[in-house]
Each structure stands twice: as structure tokens, then as C-alpha cells.
């Protein structure tokens, strides 16, 4: 188990930056998700931690030891870092049985036979694979393969476990159950885990903290609740949770409430800055009431199971997302009121 430190890390491919000035501290035993759109550098960052790539600039340390430093040229190879890595494609070795796949990290360490069997059995049991030990990977379902990959990475008690979109290839039902497997596993072992995903609900459901990445930078690293409730930029507000970002004006800090003007109406906002210029409007900030001070027209009504998502157009045509238990016909005029959305500053 170990904390991870990244100091001013950059990674360029052929001169094109894939990672830029990444400085972050991941605590020992923490479950951190890397979240971001495709191509933002999540995999590159993870591969850098694993040692498959070396930083162009900056330094990386895992636990007490520095493992990579562009200035000194230090680069501990992956096989010497004692970390686990779970690949999106599982990367099981198709020519080895499940047991051999899982035992391989112990094989290469030359551990005594009895210990090896014991540890392998334990890893298989922890992932519920006891009964599949003698199958070949080709004979397993997607979720089972995923669990073999997990067992293989756990068997040698790594300091940290890195996972690159481990659930992207699974179907929705399997995904949900595998999410539980990962969470349970984290709770039980307490290993530091870094988990790459582009699915925000996955990140929010599992991670202690989420690093939202965009264009090679970490734009916000916070707990899921803070990310959702207090985004610090337009990008995070739009990417995490459903929401609409709208401009506000005339922020007024008088009294114990902060108020601002949105489309010529005054609303209450929450903020921690002096003069925010944007609000992040989530469905739960919008209530549909006959007495609502804003008028809106229903543009689209999507069934979510038990509730509907309404796409509403404000009088000036701005679309906002609301939720409701009832279906509304398209074109219905509704009154909406807005309840204390989060406001932040971005130029």
C-alpha cells in the first residue's frame, strides 16, 4: 500500500503533449477515479504510473520511493514497481488456464509451491473463481474474464492497483455487478486504486475522489459530491452529472443569502466566490410549480423508469433539464422555480 505523488509531470508524444503539468497527491488506500472524455490522457497517465511510459518532464513517486524522474533519467521498469494493472481488454494469456494466469505473478517471483497454491487459491476465492480454476480464458464469459484479470493483479499483494476502463467491454447488468466487486475488493484490501473511466456514474458510484481530466490536464480533483455540487469550471459542470450552465449577473451578497439575476428574475444561489458569472443548473434545482416565477415550454419528455426527464425551453430559448414523476405533453407551458444552484467563475 502506498500513496502516489506526481510532480509537474508532462508527457509528450513526438512533441505533442498528451499530459501537461500534472501535479497531484493520491493518498494511501484511496480509490481515485480518472474521468474524462476520450483522448484526454487518462490511459497515458495510468501507463506512466505503471512504468510503461516514462515522463517527458517531472517526477513520480510511489510510497517512499521515486520511480520516475525525467531530470535524473530514473525510470524503474514496470516489473520492479510492485503494482497491479487491469487492462480494458483483460489481457489474459489465452494459452494458460485460469489458475496459471492467476499464479503467474507468483511463478516469476519464485515463491515456494505451497505458498503459491495457498495465495492463488485465496485470490481465486476472493473473486469467486474457485470453480473455474481449470478452465481456459476462452471458455469464460466477459465478467468472469474480468475477474480473472482482477485475481491476477491481486495475487501478489501490489502496493497499488491501476485499472484502465476495466468495465468498458461489459454489458450494463454485468457492469453494475462488477462495480460492486471492485468496491468490495477495495474495502477489503485497502489498496490504493486508480481507476480510469469515461463513465461519470461509474466514477461517482465507486471513487473516494475523482480527477476530472481534459486535454491532458487534471481540471478538478475532488470527492464525487463536491464535483457534482460545486463544480469549478464549465467543463466539469457539463461533464459531471446532467446540468446546464447559464450565465448570471448582478450578484448580491447582502444578507445571509447570495442572490443573482437570471433572465431578469432574481434567484438565490450558492457560491464561495465574490462575483461568480455562471451557474450550474441540475434537475434537482428545478421544481415545477404553478407559481414558478419562470415560464418554460416542454420540448422533449423522456421516460427514465418511474420518472421523466423534461427538456424545457425558457422564454429566450435556453434549454434546461428537469425531472418529474409525471408525463407532460410536448408544448405544455409550465411554471418552474429555481432553488439555490451552485455558482462559479469562469472567463
Amino acid at each position: 500500500m502506498a500513496d502516489i505523488n506526481l510532480t509537474a509531470v508532462e508527457k509528450h508524444f513526438d512533441g505533442v503533449p498528451a499530459l501537461q503539468s500534472i501535479t497531484a497527491h493520491l493518498n494511501d488506500g484511496e480509490f481515485v477515479a480518472l474521468l474524462g472524455p476520450s483522448g484526454c490522457g487518462k490511459s497515458t497517465l495510468l501507463r506512466l504510473l505503471a512504468g510503461f511510459e516514462t515522463p517527458t518532464q517531472g517526477a513520480v513517486s510511489i510510497g517512499a520511493a521515486e520511480v520516475a524522474n525525467a531530470a535524473t533519467g530514473l525510470a524503474v521498469p514496470p516489473e520492479a514497481r510492485n503494482i497491479g494493472f487491469v487492462f480494458q481488454s483483460y489481457a489474459l494469456w489465452p494459452h494458460m488456464s485460469v489458475r496459471r494466469n492467476v499464479a503467474y505473478p507468483l511463478d516469476v517471483r519464485g515463491i515456494s509451491k505451497a505458498d503459491k497454491i495457498r495465495q492463488t487459491d485465496a485470490a481465486l476465492a476472493a473473486t469467486g473463481l474457485q470453480h473455474y480454476a481449470d478452465r481456459m480464458p476462452a471458455e469464460l464469459s466477459g465478467g468472469q474474464r474480468q475477474r480473472v484479470a482482477l485475481a491476477r493483479c491481486l495475487v501478489s499483494a501490489p502496493d497499488a492497483v491501476l485499472l484502465d476502463e476495466p468495465l468498458a467491454n461489459l454489458d450494463v447488468a454485468l457492469r453494475a455487478s462488477m462495480q460492486d466487486v471492485f468496491s468490495d475488493f477495495h474495502d477489503r484490501t485497502g489498496a490504493t486504486m486508480v481507476y480510469v473511466t469515461h463513465d461519470q456514474s461509474e466514477a461517482m458510484a465507486m471513487a473516494d475522489r475523482i480527477a476530472v481530466m481534459s486535454e491532458g490536464r487534471i481540471v478538478q480533483l475532488d470527492t464525487p459530491e463536491i464535483l457534482y455540487n460545486q463544480p469549478r469550471s464549465k467543463f466539469v459542470a457539463g461533464f459531471v452529472g446532467e446540468g446546464t450552465v447559464l450565465p448570471i449577473g448582478d450578484v448580491d451578497h447582502s444578507g445571509n443569502m447570495v442572490q443573482a439575476r437570471l433572465l431578469r428574475k432574481t434567484i438565490t444561489i450558492k457560491t464561495d466566490t465574490q462575483s461568480p458569472n455562471l451557474i450550474c443548473l441540475r434537475p434537482e434545482h428545478i421544481s415545477i410549480t404553478e407559481t414558478g416565477d419562470l415560464r418554460a415550454e416542454v420540448q422533449r419528455c423522456t421516460y427514465l423508469g418511474g420518472r421523466y426527464r423534461l427538456t424545457l425551453h425558457l422564454p429566450d430559448g435556453t434549454p434546461i433539464q428537469a425531472e418529474s414523476r409525471d408525463r407532460y405533453a410536448l408544448g405544455t407551458q409550465l411554471g418552474v422555480s429555481i432553488k439555490a444552484p451552485w455558482a462559479f467563475t469562469e472567463v
Binding site: 512504468g51 510503461f52 514496470p78 516489473e79 489481457a91 489465452p94 494459452h95 501478489s156
Partner: protein
């Protein structure tokens, strides 16, 4: 009705499949069957007596044993050299890979007779090269290549590129992750190679090994040049010996021996299929980046080693050939005062047949490549979509005409085509019989790569076209053909290059006016004009290299994967 498992094959596809399959079977299997029928008939009726007799002769047993030994160990040599090169080229950060692969491809493009000729010229006491260097062995010293070992070595060198090409294709499909997963598990160095990479590429290695074995088994040129002087008879040379004899039942005996070669070849292929189906390795995941394992400080020594191997198997024999072509008569030492271009001049400009042969070989090989594309493309596609038992049978036997020695195939073609039914006309004595023989022999060379690529083709490509209303021919033309173009082109290049200097088939089928380059060389060498033969052979090597160079130049404009030696 045959039991079939249809992937949406329609009736028009059924009909087309039957048609194309019929054409392909008529082309490839009919001659072979016609020949085999000689072996099991006596007079007009069926008889196994001769077969029993030939198969019980001790000379047959010895030849079979020798064939298995030389083909087996020759394959081993190919596998060792070819796979070493394939591993290093496909997986590491070697420099100048294209040049290396290019050089490694050349031995396959040179007819085996010429390979053998050039090697004996380098190694023996009269080696112009060694004489010039002053290190020729003394008179009477045995030619070291006239031995089973020599045959094995040269067979190995000749077929190295087959192993190399098939294995490299397999290696490129290994996902980076499989290796990274091993490293992150703590494995390093050779352990990763041995425990992960090698097992993962076994299927392609098996495929390459099987083709190499079959090709080596049917090789006549090398055992003839090196084995006959050593009294070491393999099945192809035994066939030749039979032909040289005076017996009346010669053809029947030849047919029986050919059946024996065919049987061994099929066993080899079936064995490979068996292993491949047992060891079916599914590679999961896309290969985003091919592997490039850094060699570090070992890179320079490894590069030096690889290039010296290329030197030994390519440059040295070529130098021998070149040196021989520059002397006035065989056995004369090459010195400044003996050097002469007269045999080049004689071979290239004085002999009218030479230019004819160039034209003939060129048109034959281009024609064969084009016709084979036209046959193999629909055939492979329909067979994949609509597997029938006949198709399976064809699939197992299509290698036969390639595995049989060329002389045997030529005899089969004569037997089959000298009397065309219902007509006075005959193909015999025209260039068409050679052409048909080439189609039969090289069909598999074209068919296998296309088949492999069609197997990988997403069936949705075709179904998408179907769902928008495209009929069978529209789909074949605008979807299937362009999508399998890279492998078709690779097959075409291989067919062209091997047909260009083909010898053993055309040797029996040519007549004046339809000489091929291979025949020219052989006839020159046969009538004692070894020096002129060397000059012509050298010319062919240069022409082949120039053609390969042209393809290389065009490589950037061709779709990816079309040029076999392009990384």
C-alpha cells in the same frame, strides 16, 4: 443433401459457389487425379498390384526416409532462421527493417536449382570466389554440400522466408497488453518471450512450418543438384531416376511415387490443422500499437548478426554466381585478365530464345496472377460463407499440385490435356498448357492469403451491402474485392515472383517458341554452358530484385499491408 450450416448464404451464392468450385477443382485436382489413376490401373482395369510392388521396394523406403529427413530437418533450419528474424523484426526496435525483410525475401524468389548452383560454386575446390581469394580447398577435396547436410541447409535457406512471413503476420496480432501484463506481473527478459510471446504465436508458426514442410518435400532442384552426386535419393529424385530408366511401366511407377509424396504432404497439413484446432488461441483486444521491445545495448550486435546471416544466405551465393558468370569457361579462375562479359552478351543478346523467354515468363506470371485473383476471391468468399463438404475437401487438397514435384505435375497436365474431348484442337505444345499448369500449381499460393483475410472480414460488411439492396455481383465487386485487396495483392506478388522463374513445371511443357526463363537456364546448364547459365540466372535475380524494388517504390501509394515485406 449435404448437411450445411449456413450463414445466410442465398441461392444465387449456392449456384455461383458450385460453378467456381467446379472451375477450381477442374484446374487443380483434375490433373492430379488423372495422374493418380495411372498408378491404380493396369491396362484398362483397376489394380493395386503395381502400387503394392513400388511401395514395397526398398529404394522407395529409402527415398521416403530421405525425403522425410531432408524436408523435416530443412524445415527445422527454416524455422530456426525464419522465426529468429520474425521475432526480432516484428517485436523489437531494430533499424532498417524494410531492407532486412527485403533481403530475406529474395532467396525464395530464386529458383532452387540456381540457389544450389550458386552455393556449390561458392563452396567447392573450383570456387571462383575462393580461388580468387586464394583459399580454395585442394583438388579432390569433397564438395561439402554434396551430402544430406547440404540438402538440409539449402532447403532451409530456400524456405526461410515462408516461415518468416507467416510468423511475422501472427506476431503482429499479439496485443501489446499481453506482454505488458506479464511485465507488470514481474516477468522480465527471456521469460516474457518464452512464456508469453512464443505460445501466443504458435498457430502461425505451425502454419508456416506446415507450408514449408510441404514445399521442401516437393523440392526437386536442391536434392537433384546436391543429392544425386552424393547418392542420396529423395522421392523427387527417385521419380527422376524412374523417368531416366527404360522400364515400360514408368508412368505408373511415377504416379505411385507422386501419390506417396501427396499423402505425406496431406498428412503434414492435417497434422498442422489438428494442432491449430486444439491450440486455438483467441487474442482478445485490439492491437493499438504493435510491440516494439527495446533491445538496448544488444541492438547493435544483434543487427550485425542478422546482417551477417543475410550476407551468408544471400550475398555470398550471389557473389559466387556473379563470379562464375564473368569467366570464359567453367573452372577458370577469375582474374583481371580472365574477366569477360562474353557469356552475358551471348546469353542475353545472341540467343534469340532469351528475349522470347523473358516475354513468355512475364506474360505467364502476370496472367496467372490475374486469373488466380479472379478465381480465388469469389471462391474463398463463398466457401467461407457457405461451407459445403465439397468445399472442405477442396480446402484440404488444394495444396497438392503445389506439393508435387513440378515434373510430376507436368506429366499430369500432358496426360490430361493432350486429347481435348470433342475437338481436334490441342493445347499441348502451346503456351496455354504451361499457363494452365501454373494456375493449378499456384492456386494455393493465391488462395491461402485471400482465405485468411476473408476469414477476418467482418460479415457485417457484406450484410450491410445486402441490406441496402446490392446483389451478389455488386457486392463482390464493390465490397469484397476492395476489402481483401491487400491480401490479394500479396498473393499476386508471390505468384508473380515464383512463376517468373519457375522451372520444373515448364521443363516438360515448353516447346520452341514457348520457352520460359527457368527452362532457358536449365537447358544452358544441361548442355554444359554453366557460365552462360550463371549469367542468365544473375540477370533474372537482378530483374526480380528490380521488380521488387518497383513494388517497394509504389508501396506508399498502395493500401497498407499489400507489400509483403513492408513493415
Amino acid at each position: 443433401m449435404l448437411a450445411r450450416h449456413k450463414l445466410g448464404g442465398s441461392r444465387s451464392e449456392d449456384r455461383l459457389l458450385s460453378l467456381v468450385l467446379l472451375v477450381a477443382i477442374a484446374l487443380t485436382l483434375a490433373p492430379v487425379l488423372r495422374l493418380f489413376s495411372e498408378g491404380v490401373t493396369q491396362g484398362d482395369h483397376f489394380s493395386l498390384a503395381l502400387m503394392r510392388e513400388v511401395l514395397s521396394q526398398s529404394s522407395t523406403h529409402t527415398a521416403l526416409l530421405h525425403s522425410l529427413t531432408t524436408a523435416g530437418f530443412g524445415t527445422l533450419v527454416s524455422v530456426v532462421i525464419g522465426s529468429t528474424f520474425a521475432f526480432l523484426v516484428a517485436l523489437t526496435d531494430l533499424r532498417a527493417k524494410v531492407a532486412l525483410v527485403f533481403c530475406l525475401m529474395i532467396p525464395m524468389m530464386i529458383p532452387p536449382q540456381i540457389t544450389a548452383l550458386s552455393w556449390t560454386q561458392v563452396m567447392g575446390p573450383s570456387s571462383v570466389l575462393l580461388k580468387t581469394l586464394g583459399i580454395a580447398p585442394p583438388l579432390g577435396a569433397p564438395q561439402p554440400l554434396y551430402s544430406p547436410l547440404g540438402i538440409i541447409l539449402l532447403l532451409g535457406v530456400q524456405h526461410t522466408s515462408i516461415v518468416f512471413l507467416t510468423l511475422r503476420a501472427g506476431l503482429r496480432a499479439i496485443p501489446q497488453e499481453a506482454v505488458e501484463a506479464a511485465r507488470i506481473s514481474g516477468a522480465k527478459g527471456l521469460r516474457v518471450w518464452w512464456q508469453i510471446i512464443v505460445p501466443l504465436c504458435l498457430p502461425s508458426l505451425a502454419a508456416g512450418t506446415a507450408i514449408t514442410f510441404v514445399t521442401a518435400l516437393g523440392n526437386f532442384g536442391i536434392p537433384a543438384m546436391l543429392g544425386i552426386p552424393a547418392g542420396y535419393v529423395t522421392l523427387p529424385t527417385l521419380i527422376y531416376q524412374k523417368l531416366a530408366g527404360l522400364g515400360i511401366s514408368v508412368l505408373a511407377e511415377v504416379a505411385v511415387l507422386a501419390m506417396l509424396i501427396g499423402a505425406v504432404a496431406i498428412c503434414g497439413i492435417l497434422l498442422q490443422r489438428f494442432f491449430q484446432s486444439r491450440q486455438r488461441v483467441h487474442l482478445v483486444g485490439a492491437t493499438a500499437h504493435p510491440l516494439a521491445i527495446p533491445l538496448g545495448r544488444a541492438r547493435l550486435p544483434i543487427e550485425a548478426a542478422l546482417w551477417s546471416v543475410v550476407c551468408v544466405i544471400l550475398v555470398l551465393p550471389m557473389l559466387g554466381l556473379l563470379a562464375t558468370s564473368l569467366v570464359p569457361a567453367y573452372g577458370v579462375a577469375l582474374r583481371f585478365d580472365t574477366i569477360t562479359l562474353s557469356s552475358w552478351y551471348e546469353a542475353l543478346f545472341r540467343q534469340p530464345a532469351t528475349s522470347r523467354a523473358f516475354v513468355n515468363s512475364f506474360s505467364l506470371s502476370i496472367g496467372a496472377a490475374l486469373v488466380l485473383i479472379a478465381i480465388c476471391l469469389p471462391l474463398a468468399w463463398l466457401m467461407e460463407r457457405n461451407p459445403t463438404r465439397l468445399g472442405h475437401l477442396f480446402d484440404s487438397l488444394v495444396d497438392l499440385p503445389y506439393a508435387l514435384p513440378g515434373v510430376v505435375l507436368a506429366i499430369a497436365m500432358i496426360l490430361l490435356l493432350i486429347n481435348l474431348p470433342f475437338t481436334e484442337a490441342t493445347l499441348y505444345g502451346t503456351i496455354w498448357i504451361i499457363f494452365l499448369a501454373y494456375l493449378a500449381r499456384f492456386l494455393t499460393v493465391m488462395f491461402r492469403p485471400i482465405q485468411a483475410s476473408i476469414r477476418q472480414l467482418d460479415p457485417a460488411m457484406n450484410e450491410a451491402a445486402q441490406s441496402v439492396g446490392a446483389n451478389l455481383f455488386q457486392r463482390l465487386r464493390s465490397i469484397i474485392l476492395p476489402l481483401s485487396a491487400p491480401s490479394a495483392a500479396a498473393g499476386a506478388i508471390l505468384v508473380f515472383l515464383t512463376a517468373f522463374n519457375e522451372l520444373t513445371v515448364s521443363a516438360l511443357l515448353w516447346s520452341s517458341g514457348t520457352e520460359t526463363l527457368g527452362v532457358m537456364i536449365f537447358n544452358l546448364d544441361d548442355s554444359g554452358e554453366t557460365v552462360m547459365a550463371s549469367a542468365l540466372a544473375m540477370t533474372i535475380v537482378l530483374v526480380v530484385m528490380a521488380l521488387m524494388g518497383l513494388v517497394q517504390l509504389a508501396a506508399r501509394r498502395l493500401p497498407k499491408g499489400v507489400v509483403p515485406w513492408q513493415t
